[in-house]
Amino acid sequence: MEQAEVPQTQEQDKDSQEDLAHGQIVIIAFRWLIIVGALVSTLWGLGLGEPVSRQASITFILLIYAVVNFILLARYLKKSPSLAGLAYTMSLVDLIIITVVVAIQKDIFQSYVYVYYYPALMVLAVAFPTSITAAYTVGAIVVYGMMASLAGGAEFQQVFARLLMLAAVAFCGSLYRQIEHSRRAEKAKISSPGGGSVRSL
């Protein structure tokens, strides 16, 4: 019995590793999106009279972020093995950066920066196992929920709508990942000798 369980566990690990390998390119693409968005937004701020020194610091941080992302992209293109720890840490860093940028806004509740949480949670939901996605999503909801609720002028209904949609994006992303996983497993079963049948539609 135990001997039969070992290959199954190995198979699951291999599956998770492959999911991560294929999902991380979506995370990398998301990171480019956030970098371009933040860069344009920062330069836009110059035209609105925001302090140059502040904008320069933000630009510098964004460029470092871009270099790190380029290194991760290069690793992916070279087909280097995916490091789960690195991927999880980088996604946590993404969420922390978004949270810090939200936190340093003058008016946290009115700040629009929180919208970056949506693609961030979506991409990690399709790449990471459900347990990791759940932990990150709950963390983001709790932290952002507290920051937004405690900010001056916060309205419960609006905070609720934002948090609900954060949960929705992560839930649907994770569900999609699971569905794709089952579909692929079914295809693999069909292609194997003596494979099964396709579910009739």
């Binding site: 492959e18 390998a21 294929h22 999902g23 390119i25 979506v26 693409a29 998301f30 999106l33 371009v36 968005g37 344009v40 937004s41 836009w44 701020g45 609105l48 087909k79 629009y112 920066v113 919208v115 970056y116 949506y118 693609p119 979506m122 991409v123 399709v126 309205e155 419960f156 209904q157 609006q158 609720f160 709508a161 934002r162 609900l164 949609m165 949960a167 929705a168 994006v169 839930f171 649907c172 992303g173 569900l175 999609y176 569905i179 794709e180 579909r183 692929r184 497993a185 295809k187 693999a188 069909i190 292609s191 194997s192 396709v198 539609l201």
Partner: protein
């Protein structure tokens, strides 16, 4: 000929398996809209009018979810129609003066649910932009609008990208090749 049949089957499977995600996303939107409306009620009229979109979406979702559970998924046309109804209801709510105030509306978060087809995403962005532009009293802060559209479009684009990756993995699995 076989290749065409395989592609058709794959397309049908995409529709079948994709439905359940749209259904769940819609339940989240219904919950959010219900909360937004019920917490804003000041007069009986508000409640009656506010219930209309909730009831429409719930009936639609009950029908679609029920069909899915009975393994009799609704057709592609109906999925497009229901998705269009979603877009119309959320857009109307964002554009409504009392609840949304156009660009100032925080209900735009509901637009953030998964809009994964490129055409539908582009349409959503356009509709959202037009509503913000033409809502009475709506004042657009263009930098914020840029970030909203970027993240909305980003979700659509990244989702579509992920779907393409998964499609090639499925095909590879069918061909018995599991390497990246």
């Amino acid at each position: 000929m076989e290749s065409l049949q395989a592609e058709e089957l794959e397309f049908k499977e995409d529709i079948f398996f994709g439905q359940v995600i749209i259904i769940w996303a819609r339940w989240f939107v219904i919950l959010g809209i219900a909360a937004a409306i019920l917490l804003n009620v000041k007069e009986p009229r508000d409640l009656v009018i506010g219930l209309i979109p909730i009831v429409v979406l719930m009936l639609m979702n009950f029908a679609v979810h029920g069909s899915y559970l009975m393994e009799r998924p609704v057709g592609q046309t109906l999925i497009f129609i229901t998705s269009a109804v979603d877009l119309i209801i959320v857009s109307v709510m964002v554009g409504l003066d009392q609840i949304g105030q156009g660009f100032g509306s925080q209900l735009f978060a509901f637009v953030m649910r998964r809009q994964w087809a490129i055409g539908y995403t582009a349409l959503t962005l356009l509709v959202y932009l037009l509503i913000c532009l033409f809502s009475p009293g709506s004042q657009i802060e263009w930098r914020e609008m840029f970030v909203r559209l970027l993240t909305l479009g980003g979700i659509g684009g990244l989702g579509s990208y992920y779907w393409r990756i998964m499609r090639s993995r499925r095909r590879a699995a069918l061909a018995g090749d599991n390497t990246r």
